[in-house]
């Protein structure tokens, strides 16, 4: 693109007032600048503006726009474009007179010849600015000077505003200007991109309204207040718009009327009503239930959050429609497993294998605080009711220093913090569990509370069908429950206090009366994992550009299992986490975030069992292993200061250098310092952006490796480095293409040591590299389809010192293709499907055996090359059908989900006969249907 700056050029001026400079840029023509002036040409339409609350109240009035088309090149006066006029004679409500637009003046005397050949754009479609109802500015005329970039198609691609006298008017003016349509500028008969200045003029005056009737506009089924729905009185033509769920009908004489709300986001509706003589004094209120139209996009769609440079590779899922996502069994958190970068876990138990890293390398947070566990027993459901969840953020690599303790990725579950405006609740019953949730405001506009509880009952089902055979008695299992309570209160002065209490309990016990194979293994097999957490958050925003967040969490947890008393583990701890984060807009281009995390975790444990292996380790029969039994206690304590600076040297470039220190000062003593850097570049605004991130990451090794008496208390933190590059491209609205390429290198990995005196050391080295691609489609009114295609390629390797070469890690899944769609049909039917095709996990083949005559066990002898074999491809199709009946005040939903529709026996592991001479695949469940019903009010 050539750019040429010239003196002045007046033909493109679209402003009323004299303008100081205009610039125009074309794709293959020169850029011109010039100074012009102009006068109003025509008065635009005056339309009704937003209503105020209260029966009789003075509100802001925005005069209708006085719109002037671009001036004619010859005479300097643009064509006149008139909007539809509404004199508002019988309506004394606010009036929006909109901007006054002027034609451009003729060219300046010193305009160059080239520019003389440029035909300026011509405004074809003017859009009225919508003023916020709470706008409170004095009467008068106001001007917002905008700079518009108009592309070759006449669309406004960029809008910016100069500093106006009333900043409140900038956003409405920009929003309106974005929707303008122009006849594009031309140069040598070819449409070109230009940039022009434009004055949007507002005239505000106060008027008196007399409200005679109030309609509460509520969504049918949810009773949620609906705003910005417009209707008109058929008898008078007066138009009214609902604000915060209230449509106030004003200035009507006593009599009978019909309110008509035309079809749009909601189905059309006619409501007859009567205005009495006394209604001005006390206007009656009544609800109108609006039914969401088929294809209308609700505010609960899947969206891609704006890129935050400090989480450059973040994938963000908003909860709403994911509830009916196929394969998730109605659980939003289960959808995480379908994101690119996350491998499918064996048996679907919900292990988060991110970019080939072991699950231990990825940390899960809830509102940025450590989480006890993500899923219930066997990974069937998450431990948080989906109704609490606003979004799930997943960062597979390259996150900034605000997060630590993970060399893999992070998952942060963001809870909803929007205040509840009405009481809602639901009861969900399916074949596995039943749950209830209820919540609402306890004090209007300042406090609300939400409570949920859920309990499984498939233990009863397993008992009734004697699922584990004769001689095996299920005593209390497997069963789970969970609960959540969220309370938030807003105080004056920008303070907000939020409490989130949650807990879950998974436990089970199976009595094995006899064991014909290994008589030692008789008695009880039990497992229990429970935790109760209280999380408090205090937010303070004393002024724009300065905010503080203090989070405190206390946990009581216990995790344990006991296998016939032969192998057992029981850990109880009471971690307290304090997280302080200060955010300062230090400069117009610099945001500084600094924080201090403090974790202190007193724990006690009991452990009995053989040495636990790590990646790729041989499985020694229990009987042939040295079994240790020990108990103890200690304190893990970590102090983690960090700082992250977001710097925008230029408009489209964001750099985030950050650094973090983790000082472990408890029973285990170690430290690490991790510098990191990430960046984003908006190559084409809202269309194409690039990103890059990298840095050092550290984490404690798995706890058992550092327990004195079992492992090596002198073991060091595990380290890793990330490097990630990627881009995001939005070719059309609601379609996103994402790409990430990554490389990770790990060192100081804990491994089983050749030195039996310490058992574990830091000698492990690993690496992971690959890429992922995500094509995601969000629903639109025309195509109510949600879906994505995600593909991930990963090589995850550890160095085999014995063979002096890299070998696959236990969690390498080379290929992972995930296709998921969900389509809304008329009459509240939704159908969806998910298809997965993934490589199998690697495994090591046993080629012979040794006989341990002391214990009558066979010890497998592995073939050369750890993890040299790979399980066959996994493929599975899941389908889901939802039907919802919407009543005025409540909804009834029925859903059927069938996982593994075509009964494919997917290998999930290998199993050998007694002497390793025969091998067969251990397959997953052939089919899993889940039928459920959910009633909501």
């Amino acid at each position: 693109m050539k750019r040429l700056a010239l003196a002045s050029f007046g033909a493109l001026v679209l402003a009323l007032a004299p303008m100081s400079a205009i610039s125009m840029t074309t794709a293959d023509a020169p850029t011109v600048e010039g100074a012009v002036g102009g006068d109003p040409v025509d008065e635009g339409p005056a339309v009704e503006g937003p209503a105020d609350e209260g029966p009789i109240e003075e509100g802001p009035v925005q005069e209708g726009p006085v719109q002037e088309g671009p001036a004619d090149k010859d005479d300097g006066e643009g064509p006149v474009q008139e909007g539809s006029a509404d004199d508002g004679s019988d309506d004394e409500g606010p009036v929006d007179e909109g901007p006054v637009e002027e034609g451009a003046q003729g060219p300046a005397a010193d305009a160059g010849d080239v520019l003389q050949e440029v035909t300026p754009p011509e405004l074809l479609e003017f859009v009225q600015a919508v003023l916020p109802p709470e706008l409170d500015i004095p009467d008068g005329q106001y001007v917002v000077v905008l700079t518009l970039t108009i592309d070759e198609n006449g669309a406004v691609t960029e809008v910016s505003a100069a500093d106006p006298p009333r900043p409140e008017l900038v956003a409405p003016a920009i929003e309106a200007a974005k929707k303008f349509r122009f006849k594009p500028a031309t140069y040598q008969d070819k449409a070109v991109l230009v940039q022009v200045q434009y004055e949007y003029q507002f005239e505000v005056r106060q008027k008196i309204r007399e409200v005679v009737r109030v309609f509460l506009t509520l969504e049918r089924g949810t009773r949620d207040p609906i705003s910005e729905v417009s209707g008109f009185i058929e008898e008078t033509g007066a138009t009214f718009t609902s604000i915060d769920g209230r449509m106030e009908i004003s200035n009507l004489q006593p009599g009978r009327y019909t309110l008509y709300i035309p079809a749009g986001e909601f189905d059309e509706i006619r409501q007859e009503f009567k205005v009495g003589a006394d209604d001005r004094a006390k206007p009656p209120e009544s609800p109108i239930y609006l039914k969401r139209a088929y294809g209308a996009v609700s505010n609960q769609t899947i969206i891609r959050a704006p890129r935050e440079a400090r989480f450059a590779a973040k994938q963000s899922l908003s909860a709403g429609e994911l509830v009916s996502f196929p394969g998730s069994a109605g659980d939003v958190l289960k959808v995480v497993e379908n994101l690119p970068g996350i491998a499918r876990s064996s048996f679907g138990v919900g292990q988060l294998v991110v970019y080939g890293s072991p699950p231990n390398d990825t940390k899960v947070f809830i509102n940025q605080m450590p989480f006890v566990l993500l899923y219930h027993f066997a990974g069937l459901y998450s431990v948080i009711n989906s109704d609490f969840i606003e979004a799930i953020d997943f960062v597979p690599a390259g996150f900034d220093a605000s997060y630590g303790g993970a060399v893999g990725g992070i998952v942060n579950v963001k809870l909803k913090d929007e205040p509840l405006k009405a009481w809602h609740g639901s009861i969900d019953v399916n074949l596995l569990h039943a749950g209830i949730i209820v919540g609402g405001p306890y004090k209007k506009d300042s406090g609300d509370i939400q409570i949920a509880f859920r309990r499984s009952y498939y233990d009863a089902i397993l008992k009734s069908i004697n699922a584990f055979g004769d001689g095996r008695i299920l005593t209390s299992a497997p069963a789970y429950y969970d609960y959540q309570v969220r309370l938030q209160h807003r105080f004056s002065g920008g303070h907000k206090l939020t409490f989130f209490i949650n807990g879950s309990d998974d436990r089970g016990e199976l009595i094995n009366e006899e064991n014909d194979v290994n008589p030692t293994f008789v008695g009880s097999v039990s497992g229990a994992l429970w935790g109760h957490a209280l999380q408090a958050t205090w937010n303070w925003e004393p002024r724009a550009g300065l905010s503080n967040e203090l989070k405190v969490q206390g946990l009581i947890t216990q995790a344990g299992f006991d296998v016939f008393g032969q192998v057992k583990m029981k850990v109880r701890d009471h971690p307290v986490t304090i997280k302080e984060t200060l955010t300062v807009q230090a400069h117009s281009k610099v945001v500084v975030r600094a924080g201090l995390n403090f974790d202190v975790d007193p724990y006690s444990f009991l452990l009995k069992g053989p040495q636990m292996g790590l990646d790729g380790e041989n499985m020694t029969p229990y009987e042939s292993s040295e079994v240790l039994e020990l108990s103890g206690d200690g304190v893990m304590a970590t102090i983690s200061p960090w700082v992250s600076v977001e710097y925008k040297p230029v408009e489209r470039l964001t750099l985030v250098p950050s650094i973090r220190a983790d000082l472990n000062v408890g029973t285990w003593k170690a430290w690490s310092i991790d510098p990191r850097l990430s960046m984003t570049v908006d190559a084409i605004k809202d269309k194409l952006s690039f990103r890059a991130a990298g840095g050092l990451y550290s984490q404690p090794p798995q706890s058992f490796t550092l327990i004195e008496g079992y492992g090596n208390p002198d073991i060091d933190p595990e380290n890793g480095t990330h490097a990630l590059v990627g881009f995001q491209y939005n070719p059309i609205d609601r379609l996103t293409l994402d790409f990430n390429g990554f490389f990770k290198y790990f060192w100081n990995r804990a491994q089983v040591s050749d030195d039996a005196t310490v058992r574990y050391d830091n000698g492990g080295i690993g690496r992971a590299w690959g890429f992922d691609v995500l094509l995601r489609m969000n629903p639109s009114e025309r195509i109510p389809l949600t879906g994505w295609i995600a593909y991930t390629f990963v090589k995850s390797e550890l160095y085999d010192f014995g063979l002096a070469r890299w070998r696959p890690s236990d969690f390498q899944q080379n290929h992972n293709l995930n296709i998921a769609i969900s389509y809304k049909l008329p009459r509240n039917w939704t159908i969806g499907g998910r298809f997965r095709l993934t490589s199998g996990y690697p495994y090591t083949k046993y080629e012979s055996y040794q006989y341990d005559a002391d214990n009558d066990t066979y010890v497998g002898v592995r073939a050369p090359g750890i993890n040299a074999q790979e399980l066959p491809l996994f493929h599975q199709l899941d389908i889901r059908v939802d039907k919802e009946w919407v009543f005025k005040a409540w909804r009834l939903g029925l859903y059927l989900e069938v996982q593994n529709v075509y009964f494919h026996k997917n290998p999930e592991g290998v199993i050998y006969n007694y002497d390793y001479s025969k091998m067969a695949y251990l397959t997953g469940l052939p089919i899993l249907p889940v039928l459920g019903i959910k009633g909501s009010f």
Binding site: V349, L373, F377, A559, Q611, E626, A853, P926
Partner: protein, 405 residues
């Protein structure tokens, strides 16, 4: 801490749960049980005594006997297993099963063998000699201990720490000398558990996934050579005051499920099939196709030694009996002395023959092991009942529960 340990535990619980569901859903392969002898196998090594006296002044001798199990004798063109060689060796410091019994010091061949190699005799004096042999290879010795030391072996762990500390001063000769003496002290203080290895080379038929012979194009069975490695630990050590050496357990097996709690086997030969307590002529046991024969093991109380746990509490040692047969199927593979709470010890086991297959001369072997490397075994045969005395198929109910046809 919790996020790590809980994660590990949760993963274990989740995987166990998923595995249990898979088992319940019948997704497991249908392998033959391990106590069905479909091919030649070594199923034990009996050491007599299992605990050998070993002091600086006196070193005892141990006799090792191979316990084998054979498949049904071949018929027609089938070929039985042929033992091509049996070799014995001993490893003074073994890295154990987790390291596939890697020996951290050169293995010592055991050459005093008899009965075609099935019985070996080893003199503990050779261990003392072996120890002296490594006096000049202390670095190798210490490296071996470092790889193989049990996590609870504080004596040798302390020795390694002292050795490492000593090496920092650079006087290698002194360090080696001290380390060797320290090692000897640990050996004579806590004993040594050398691991004997027996390598049996056998030539037999290749079997398919259903354990049936594979034939070549000429209809002849395809043969293969297998090398079976078996490992057996023997305790060499001095006895502490008041401590009795571990003995190989004694037991018997009887026909039927009659309670024998107070029975002294040799005094009541009726129903006694076999015993380790003395010579006993096996009674004839006959079986028809489809028949179930109930056996019962008996364990004399005084044959069980007492062991002292880490907590100082003395208890009966744990024992387990493995049941093998080369025809029919035992209901239980093993029976052990541990029971679920509230469940009585049941020492009965049932051998069931398939209804659709003729009964052939069946070799039954019972191997009893105790907690401290003690082992003993019994062997007897079940013969086929003559066809005219077996009921017609479908009328076998009367033969169940151990009735004699």
């Amino acid at each position: 801490m919790i996020t790590r340990l809980a994660e590990r535990t949760r993963t274990a619980v989740a995987l166990t749960g998923a595995f249990a569901v898979v088992v319940a859903a019948g997704c497991m392969p249908d392998y033959n049980p391990s106590n069905f002898i479909e091919k030649y196998r070594v199923i034990g090594v009996m050491a007599e005594p299992p605990a050998v006296e070993f002091t600086p002044e006196y070193q005892g001798t141990v006799r090792l006997e191979l316990v084998e199990a054979f498949p049904l004798p071949p018929t027609g063109d089938l070929v039985g297993p042929e033992i091509e060689g049996i070799e014995w060796s001993v490893c003074l410091i073994s890295a154990g099963a987790a390291a596939n019994f890697a020996c951290t010091l050169p293995e010592i061949p055991v050459t005093d063998v008899s009965d075609s190699g099935r019985i070996a005799t080893f003199d503990g004096a050779l261990i003392a000699l072996g120890l002296e042999f490594v006096r000049d290879q202390v670095e190798v010795l210490m490296d071996g201990i470092r790889q193989a030391v049990a996590f609870t072996d504080q004596c040798n762990k302390d020795l390694i720490v002292e050795y490492d500390d000593c090496l920092k001063d650079g006087d290698l000769e002194t360090c080696n000398g001290n380390a060797f003496e320290g090692f000897r002290k640990c050996v004579f203080q806590n004993g040594l558990n050398p691991v004997f290895k027996v390598r049996v080379t056998v030539r037999d038929m290749l079997l398919d996934d259903s354990d049936l012979p594979v034939f070549d194009d000429d209809g002849k069975p395809v043969m293969r050579q297998r090398v079976l490695e078996t490992f057996k630990t023997v305790t060499f050590g001095g006895l502490k005051e008041g401590q009795k050496p571990n003995r190989n357990p004694q037991f018997s097996v009887r026909l039927g499920a009659k309670p024998v709690d107070d029975l002294f086997d040799m005094m009541h030969p009726e129903g006694l099939v076999a015993t380790t307590l003395g010579n006993h002529e096996q009674p004839e046991i006959l079986a028809c196709p489809g028949q179930e024969i109930v056996f019962q093991a008996t364990v004399p109380p005084d044959s069980i030694d007492r062991v002292t746990g880490d907590d100082g509490v003395e208890t009966d040692e744990y024992w387990v009996i493995s049941w093998y047969a080369n025809n029919g199927r035992f209901k239980k593979i093993r029976i052990g002395s541990v029971t679920a709470e509230g469940v009585d010890l049941d020492l009965t086991n049932t051998l069931k023959f398939k209804e659709e297959e003729p009964v052939r001369r069946t070799q039954v072997t019972l191997v009893m092991r105790d907690e401290l490397f003690g082992l003993n075994f019994l062997r007897f045969f079940v013969e086929a009942q003559t066809r005219d005395k077996c009921p017609a198929p479908g009328t076998l109910d009367s033969l169940k529960k151990g009735d004699k046809p």
